[in-house]
Structure formats: C-alpha cells, structure tokens
Amino acid sequence: MSTATVQGPAAQRAPRGRRLGGAVNTLPLVGPSVALLLIFSLVPLAATLYYSVIRYNLVNPMLHGFAGWSNYKFLLRDPTLYQSLWISVVLVGEVLILTVGGGAILASLFEANFPGRAVARVLVIAPFFVMPTVSALVWKNLLMNPVNGLIAFILRSLGLNAIDFFANWPLTSIVVIVAWQWLPFAFLILLTALQSLDEETREAALLDGAGPIRTFLHIELPHMGRAISVVVMMETIFLLGVFAEIYVTTAGGPGTQTTNLTFLIYQRALLAFNVGSASAAGVIAIILANILAMFLVRAIGKRLDEQ
C-alpha cells in the first residue's frame, strides 16, 4: 500500500540468489502474489479516497453527491481528531518505552547462564501468543477489578486503598495490558541481536573491570542499536492499530479518554455510519503509517543488500 520506494544505486542491484540453472520464466510464479497484493492494496485505497470526497451516510440516504474537501474540513476542525491522534501517540510512546526498556534489560539478563533458562524464556514469551481479547479481559477483571481483583487485594493487604484502574487511569490501564503483550516481542528480537555479540568483547570488558551495569550500558546496548530501531518501527506500526483491547475494556471511554485514531474511525464508520468522515480519517491514518513505513522499508532494504 505504501508508496515508499527505496532510491539510490542499491535499488538497481538484484539480491544475490542462487540459480538452479535453466532459463525459467518467473512471471507465472511471482505474478499471482503480486497481482493479489496489488488489487488488495490499490482498490480499497482508491475506494477510501473516493468515499472521503463524497457525502455518504448509510442511515441518511438523502445525503449524496460530491463533497469536495468538506469531509476533511469538518474533520480537521474537530477537536476529537486531534485528541485521538494524541491518544495514539501517548499509547504508542508509553508502550514503546516499557517494552523496549524492559525487553533490553530482560534480554541482557537472559544472556547470562543460569539453570532453567530455556523454561524461563518460554514463560516470558508466552503473553505474545495470548489473543488480545483474552489478555484485555483477564487483566481488566481478574487482576485490575477494583473490588474482587487480585491487585486490589494486594493493595488492601498492604494497607493501601484499592484503585479503580479503568475509571481513574483508563489509558494507562490499556498501556499496561498492551505492553504486557508486546514486551515478549521486543525481548525475543533483542535477545536474538544480543546473541551475535562476540564473547571476546564481553571478556575484554570483564577484564577491564566493567560490572554488569556498565557492560549493559556501554557494550550490549550499543550492540542492540539497530535491532532496537527495528523493534521501535515494527511495534509502532502494529500499535497504531490497537483496537481489540480498547473495544472490550473501555469502548473508547470514559468520554473519549481512550479513543485512539483507529477506534475513532471505527466509531465513525460502523457506529455512526458516517462513511465520508470515517474515510477522511482513514486517509489520515494511511498517510501517517506510510511515513513510518518509508523509514522501515529503507532500513530493511539496507539489510537485504548486505546479505
């Protein structure tokens, strides 16, 4: 979908493959995949653009005709758009800090040798395989419920007041749930990156008297640099689309406190049936994602050239 292309001399060079010999017409082999993706990306995009400039409301057939920029004008004057963009940014930003920070520290710990490491690693990764509706509902009810939840019980046993997480900090509560799901992703990728750190560098640091914290800050963290940037970009793209966690916990509320851009578009489209406005917001979401995709595709393209 993205119009991102990679420029420069490398763009003209085919990756080094291994020929099996023989002349093969690759078009019938590659063609189906390309054709399907082309249709899947271009047709809905064109339709979104089209709907965004017409008057179209599923519950009001009297509204029709060309709208020009008016859907965009209404949308851009609407404070809920900016609020939803801000909520998306906060959600993505906070989850990134928690997952990349936590993932890097955990990866460093799991590089150490200790008994049962393989089992412990499996336990850390497990949340990533839990479907979003399950993790959101389990956290919201079993753990974060202000009356019967486990966290409320622990707080009360410590002599503190129980907290109604979803009433007082709705966005933070969602951040916690999403971060729990995505920390394993960051952990796994950073651990993979860390495993390519050669043993001699590590030993040299040890001989020079560097403790574990200094080794982490000055050797491991720089070594993970590129993997961290890949994690940040991949997660950003997935996290801008956070939907199910909001859908089953707060439904965007209280008020609009947890309505991110994805949820706003869903509300406009399938709850208010305002096709024009939802499509205009959709175009904004696509533009934002494309800007991010451009950087990511460039980074991955570089990696492809090196192999």
Binding site: P15, S33, T133, L150
Partner: protein, 273 residues
C-alpha cells in the same frame, strides 16, 4: 556460546522472577478456570481450593462453542494453506531466479503490510455488505490470506535463499535436472522452513481481532470475537471467562513455543537474525 560461561546466580534469580511475573496472569487465569464462580471472585483470592471442571463442561455445553472453535480452525488453517500455495512459487522464483525487479518487488510487498487495516475498513465493510459476504468464513479466509501474504513470501524467501548452495550444486553435477533438483533436493531442505512459516501464520490468523470483531457477528465469529462477548456486564462470569480463554489460547501457546525462533525471522522481515 554462553553455555561455556559460568553460572550467574544474581542475573538468573532476577530473570526467573521476571519470567514468573510475566507468566503470572496466564497462570492466574488457568487457576480461575478450575474455580467455581463464587470462589473465583472471593476475597482473599483462593490459591488452594477444590478444583472443578464444571466451567469447562458448561462451555462445551454451550451450543455455539464448538462452532466458534471450528470457525477459528477453518479460518486460520484455510488462510494459511492458501497463502502458502500462492507464496511458495513466488518466493522460490525470487530466491533462485532474481531479476532486477526482485528487490523492489520484495520491498513493495513489505510496504503493503504496513497499511493500517482501519484505513480500508470502510471500503472492505461496504464491499462485503454488497456481495453478501459479511459474517462468512470465506471473507475472513481471503482477508487473512491477503493480510499475511507479504510475511509468508518474505519468510519463505529467506528460507529458500539460505539453503546451502553446495548441496544443490552437487546434485547438478551428479546430473539431476531442474525438476529432480527441486523435488528431491530442495524441497526436503526447505520443508522445515515451510512448516514454521505456516505455524507462524496460523498463530497470527488465530489471534487476529480487528477484522474478526468488525466483520463477523454470529455465523463466522472465531474465538477472538467469542471471547469479546464476555465483556458485556451480564456475561461477566470470571470462571467461565477463564475456562473459555484457556481453551482459546492453549493450542496457540503450544504452537508458539515451537516457533519462537522463526517468530523473529517472520516479524522483522529478516532485518534481525
């Protein structure tokens, strides 16, 4: 690698504590699934109790549960099979017969994966409504196949590309033709790669919750959408929610543990290995 290094008790203890903390919500959920509804909400929370299988038999007794589970299976396996069949020839061609366009094609495919689903929610919803495909399995099979096709092509491409060159050359020298090389040498070599690509794709389809929540209601609802029905206040039975959730995630947890390594390859498009 690190097996040569001596055991580090401090790092190990912290790592184990972190691991138990991360896994705790899942453990707590599984525990709750064996409680009665009364025990599940009692304070202080019960760690030791008389376990019951009542919740599981209640879930299975619900007429729609098996239907929902079957939907999840049909949709994720169907979409995966379709994606593999379409992607294998493409990945094969791009790995072994690269052209000037191969690099651009691969990166363009990757960029289609970056399209935010919500950006095309309106046209897809209206299209499905017009052709009467709303709330059908076939719609989700097609969407999931298209949605994950870039990941599947990329993963297969990296597996094909990384097959040892020497073995293939040896078979050529021994006089095998292209067809024999593909079916007797290459295919057995990449079979594990195809299997792990399929595994990752099944996991992604199984857990997908944007399209399933928006495009299904009753007939084609998979487990992700079924669990979401527990968010309604009248359906808030913690023990039953836990039992249904445990059933929904158990197979995929097992799949996931098998595909840990391939996960990195698949989700970073080969950028981190």
């Amino acid at each position: 690698m690190s097996a040569r290094r001596r055991v580090q008790p401090v790092a190990g203890t912290i790592a184990w504590l972190a691991a138990l903390l991360m896994f705790f919500p899942i453990f707590w959920m599984v525990l709750a699934s064996f409680k009665t509804e009364v025990v599940a909400v009692q304070t202080p929370p019960a760690l030791f109790f008389h376990p019951t299988l009542q919740n599981y038999s209640d879930i299975f007794a619900r007429a729609d549960y098996l239907h929902v589970a079957l939907n999840s299976i049909v949709i994720s396996f169907g979409a995966t099979a379709l994606a593999i069949v379409i992607a294998v020839p493409a990945a094969f061609a791009m790995a072994f017969y690269p052209t000037l366009h191969t690099r651009g094609t691969l990166l363009w495919m990757l960029s289609t994966k970056m399209l935010p689903p919500v950006g095309v929610l309106v046209p897809i919803y209206l299209f499905a409504k017009d052709v009467d495909l709303l709330d059908t399995r076939i719609l989700l099979v097609l969407l999931y196949m298209l949605m994950n096709l870039p990941i599947v092509v990329w993963m297969l491409f990296t597996f094909f590309r990384d097959t040892p060159k020497a073995i293939i050359e040896a078979s050529r020298i021994d006089g095998a033709d292209v067809r024999q090389t593909i079916f007797h040498v290459l295919l057995p070599l990449v079979m594990p790669g195809i299997a792990s690509t399929a595994l990752l794709n099944i996991i992604l389809c199984w857990n997908e919750a944007f399209w399933s929540l928006n495009l299904t209601s009753h007939d084609a609802a998979p487990l992700t959408a079924f669990i979401a029905t527990f968010s309604a206040p009248q359906g808030l039975f913690w023990a039953k929610l836990s039992a249904a959730s445990t059933l929904a995630i158990a197979p995929i947890l097992v799949f996931g543990w098998f595909s840990q390594r391939q996960l990195v390859r698949g989700l970073t498009f080969g950028a981190v290995k």
